[in-house]
């Protein structure tokens, strides 16, 4: 639609951004792949060919096994928790109660805060001390005579990472709520009313009408939350520092590269993370862009 001069100009204007993205994302990914195939260990770069040895070593590395287990537990608890809680909150807010806007803002505000702040506060809330030194949520449970809920939180063997997921649910469930609420609002009122006239109860309306119509929202939430779990990093650092029982790939990568100077291994972890994220995200981008052109 534009003249030649404008065609030329728009290329000139967009070129720096495209070039920057191309270099900082795609060239860098290629570069990381190359590092992951090298023997680089130590301060000075070493690109000596090492084949896929770094990857093979990782899969035999007990620490990486812990990372995979922790990522699976975290993802399960975080994704399921955020989706259930987010859906529950969205349905609650969908009832046309007074103060809806206030509650909505309240459930969403943790999104504005950094994982580091969340982590520092939850570290004290999840204080595992017992006896006379009991504090945090455990102390609150004892005030409420719910002592059976007291637990060691993130210091629990094997399942400690689930406590971190709890803090993550606190932070992200408002986001899931916002997704569901936007979805609920886009469903025509007539559908609901028709079902109610046919004698459906409120519960049946949500279960058999809304939930199936919301399945694209659920899919988006699964993918977005799932890819976030694969990347979880700062929250764990802020709650517990670098502790082996709570290790995840993102922390292993950071520590082995910048503390241990195992660049080759660090790059391999980074690439494995990228592949796992790409498996989720690439079909999602394709699907979203396709539905966009259709509408």
């Amino acid at each position: 639609m534009f003249k030649d001069k404008d065609r030329y100009l728009s290329v000139v204007l967009i070129a720096p951004s495209i070039l920057a993205v191309f270099i900082f994302i795609y060239v860098f990914i290629g570069w990381s792949v190359r590092v992951s195939l090298s023997k680089w260990k130590g301060l000075s770069a070493d690109y000596t060919w090492n084949g896929i040895k770094n990857y093979i070593d990782l899969f035999a590395d007990p620490r990486f096994h812990v990372d995979i287990r922790n990522t699976l537990i975290f993802t399960g608890v975080f994704v399921v928790g955020s989706i259930l809680l987010g859906f529950f909150l969205a349905v609650l807010l969908d009832q046309g109660l007074k103060g809806e806007g206030f509650f909505r803002s309240l459930f969403l505000f943790p999104m504005a805060i950094s994982y580091i702040v969340t982590g520092v506060v939850w570290r004290w809330l999840m204080n595992p001390a017992t006896g006379s030194r009991t504090s945090g949520l455990n102390l609150l449970f004892s005030y409420l005579h719910l002592d059976f809920l007291q637990n060691a939180w993130h210091t629990t063997p094997t399942w400690g990472i689930a406590a971190i997921a709890l803090a993550a649910i606190w932070q992200m469930s408002g986001y899931t709520m916002a997704l569901y609420l936007a979805g609920l609002r886009s469903i025509p009122v007539e559908l609901r009313e028709a079902a109610q006239i046919d004698g459906a109860s409120e519960f049946q309306v949500y279960r058999y009408i809304m939930l199936p119509l919301l399945s694209p929202v659920t899919l988006s939430a699964l993918i977005i939350l799932g890819h976030m779990s694969l990347k979880v990093f700062d929250l764990i650092i802020a709650v517990a520092g670098k502790q082996l029982p709570l290790d995840v790939p993102a922390i292993y990568m950071w520590q082995t590269t910048f503390d241990g100077l195992f660049y080759g291994r660090g790059a391999a972890i980074g690439i494995l993370l990228l592949i796992s994220v790409a498996v989720l995200i690439i079909p999602y981008i394709r699907y979203t862009l396709k539905t966009e052109t259709q509408s």
């Binding site: 639609m1 909150l89 109660l97 969403l108 505000f109």
Partner: protein, 273 residues
Amino acid sequence: MKPKLRLTKYWLYIPLVGMAIFYLLPMYVMLVTGFKSFAEIDLKTMWNLPHGLALDNFIEAFSKLSPSLLNSFVMVIPAALISSMLGSLNGFILAKWKFRGADVIFPLILFGMFIPYQSILIPLVVFMRSIGVTGLPGLALAHIIYGIPITTLTFRNYYAGMPQELLEAAKIDGADMLGIYRYILLPISIPSFVVVLIWQFTSAWNDFLFAVVLTGNQEWPITVALNNMAGSQIISWNVQMAGSLLAALPTLLVYIFLGRYFLRGLLAGSLKG
């Protein structure tokens, strides 16, 4: 239908208020701890209200964190402004002038929004050192470039909704591409700019990973400084709580006053612009 349901639905406030308490618990602890005097501080009375309003903790936390708060502002403001400007230009070009290859380039840009930064971290650090852009300018540059995907997406979706007739009319009046952008699209883009600026401000302010690998201790932004404070044995938990509140305050204030725009940015981040 709605008015009839009102009366029977008051019980719904019970779960609603219960959930509100859950979301406010950490805020409550941060606030009451922050306002306690040093003499009152005890983990065993963590949930008690303060006896008076003391500012000891905030003063102590601020004296430790003020340089890094300043670092954060110095880095975040240009990062947010520049990546928003670039996003607006890119969005305009991608929405209104589909050049050959645009259909390939756009998803490639989008993918950049989701990548785990661990996969580009080593080249990023090596590259920034080799071009001599380190510390806060390097960190700002990283936020600008890795912010381009989301800012471009938001503006592209916004401009795509603009009626083509508007642009055609301007062209008949003799406006060229830059004129259309400058005099027609830019003035009506203010809401999108607010969305994108807030989003970029929040994500750069809250970032930890880039900050920790790209800056040294003189240039630490607030997230790194707070995390190190929390990790040290010397600084007590009450000061950490006050420090957390200081670190959260700027983005919280933005959220409180501009929450509506924040939500739109959030939904754009899941591609549902």
